[in-house]
Amino acid sequence: MVESIIETNGLTRSYGDICALKPLDLQVPEGEWLSVMGHSGSGKSTLMNLVGGLDRPTAGSLRVGGEDLLALSEDGLARFRREFVGIIFQQHHMVPYLTAVENVMLAQYFHSVPDEAEARSALERVGLGHRLKNRPGELSGGEQQRVCIARAIINSPKLLLGDEPTGNLDHKSTVMVMELLKELRAEERFTVIMVTHNQDVAAWGDRTIYLDDGVLVREERMKS
């Protein structure tokens, strides 16, 4: 039996009177690609932020990779993120004054030591070998998202989180990005949690969970 990389028990997140995530029990086996679907405000991003160590739950327990995230300090969470997690955002969030290769090296800087050769190789893997010295403003949305993928995988994370990574892309770029993620996952064997609105994107995963108003309402296993 495959071990769970993520285990939540009664995981809850409230903002004042508003409960963004109601007590959630969830297990994600190591290596699984889990798609999280739901309307805006359903708690998808909240779940992703909690699992990625970007936010703290109000109640419940949360273990990721055997680490009890509730027991970690602020700096402990930062170390957890750098060692364990790679994140791809919908808005890309690239540093505007750094080139593509430097944006990847920034993730290396926070993890250990910047290595330009490794960063170049990561960008070549995502098909951007010819855009190394371009700044974000000189790249298309799809290219920027591929830089973000290279940045997310450069430190060999065990868990890759995608917060609607194809939300701003056209159909062609979306397919390209999803195929790339599938290839990389096959090579690197990381676990994927992908938050999305798009049923087609969710279909790339092994399993999809549906959240509504902070509650897990449905679960669906994809046919391989």
């Binding site: 932020n49 990625g52 970007l54 936010d55 602020e74 700096d75 930062a78 170390r79 957890f80 993120r81 750098r82 060692e83 997690v85 994140i87 955002f89 808005q91 969030h93 540093v95 505007p96 004054y97 750094l98 430097e102 090296m105 920034l106 993730a107 800087y109 926070f110 993890h111 030591v113 910047p114 290595d115 330009e116 050769a117 940045r151």
Partner: protein, 388 residues
């Protein structure tokens, strides 16, 4: 190529500063302005101190040391007939030792005054070292030459009274010897010196049988920093049997005026520094607000609060160093202009001013960054990435 972390940090800092050229130039201008003011005022203040010291030198000795004479009150019952005092002398060697021990920076001249017999009359003679006299009393007017060995100079009034002129040879009779001296010049000071005959100190000591004795020591204290009063009292402690007094009010007035001007300069500098610090803080805060998503991203990628703050500190330090260098160069030019215009002299290079200039700029850059750093420290990555 493997870039180490420190080099990468510098690279990152330079890229961030270059990206916001306008704001970087504004911050640099503010820091350079503040540190150039500190530099200019430092150099001008130092030049002013030297200039005032030079001016004070022109007034001659500013401290005198005289022996405490033995005093005896004469009287009986309710009647007081006055005071009699017998001549008292300073011992030259202990005075020299005390001066060396005090560490004072001073020009010194030793004097012995006594009466010698000349042409059937007693005249007052002063034994001095002529090279000291020339340094301490540059305003004395001399007709003729300063004396060489076997020569003397005579005060203007004494020369008129005794009908003496340069080139005459005079015979002076003391307790132990007769001395023949050729008059090399007639001196005029406009003071009591015009009634004296000057000769070499050791010769007079020998003629009066007062070897190693002095009646007066004149000092021209030139050391800046401590006041004349402090110098006098510290010297007095080393010479309890002598009396140390200030002779000129000018020096004290100059010191007082200089202290007031320096205080004014410090206050102006403080006001400018506070304004510059506020300006830096405002600009840095705006920068941090604008870079909220960037900071959130760094934290989301695993940057600890310390690591992210280090990047912003690096930017502040870089701005501080560049502002300090620019401020020092600009301030030196301003100082040069002021000293040339006001004191008609050129300002000199003072290494410690460069350190002060750099320190002021760095201090302001870091002080102005404290508020923004706290914001960076507290910033929540999720909210900042959402642009809240």
């Amino acid at each position: 190529m493997n870039m180490n972390r420190r080099r990468w940090l510098i690279h990152l800092v330079l890229r961030a500063l270059a990206h916001r050229k306008g704001r970087t130039l504004l911050l640099l201008a503010v820091l350079a302005m503040a540190s150039s003011l500190a530099t200019a005022l430092g150099i001008v203040s130092s030049s002013m101190e030297k200039r005032v010291a030079e001016e004070v030198r022109k007034y001659g000795a500013n401290l005198i040391v005289i022996p405490e004479s033995a005093r005896l009150d004469i009287g009986s019952g309710g009647l007081n007939f006055g005071v009699v005092s017998e001549p008292a002398y300073l011992q030259q060697r202990p005075v020299e030792e005390a001066l060396a021990k005090s560490g004072l920076k001073a020009e010194v001249s030793f004097h012995l005054r006594g009466a010698l017999h000349m042409k059937d009359a007693d005249i007052m003679v002063e034994g001095v070292n002529f090279s000291d006299i020339r340094r301490l009393f540059p305003w004395w007017q001399l007709k003729g030459n300063w004396p060489a060995a076997g020569e003397t100079v005579v005060g203007n009034d004494l020369a008129s009274r005794m009908k003496l002129k340069a080139g005459d040879v005079v015979e002076l009779v003391g307790i132990n010897s007769k001395i023949l001296l050729r008059i090399s010049g007639i001196v005029s000071s406009g003071g009591e010196e015009d009634d004296l005959l000057f000769m070499a100190l050791p010769e007079l000591q020998q003629a009066l049988g007062l070897g190693g004795r002095l009646t007066l020591v004149r000092l021209m204290v030139t050391a800046g920093g401590s006041s004349l009063k402090t110098c006098a009292s510290s010297l007095q402690m080393l010479m309890p049997t002598a009396k140390v007094s200030e002779v000129r009010q000018t020096a004290r007035t100059s010191e007082g005026l200089l202290a007031k001007v320096k205080l004014l300069m410090l206050m102006v500098t403080a006001v400018v520094l506070v304004s510059a610090g506020s300006s830096v803080a405002g600009t840095m805060s705006t920068t941090v607000l604008e870079r909220g998503k960037e900071i959130g991203l760094m934290k989301a990628m695993g940057g600890t609060r310390r690591e992210v703050i280090l990047i912003f500190c690096g930017e502040a330090v870089m701005l501080g160093v560049l502002g300090g260098v620019a401020g020092y160069l600009f301030g030196s030019v301003i100082a040069q202009f002021i000293t040339k215009t006001v004191f008609a002299s050129s300002a000199e290079f003072i290494p410690w001013i460069a350190v002060i200039s750099m320190g002021v700029s760095l201090f302001l850059a870091l002080l102005g960054s404290i508020g923004p750093m706290i914001s960076v420290f507290k910033l929540d990555p999720v909210r900042s990435l959402r642009g809240e």
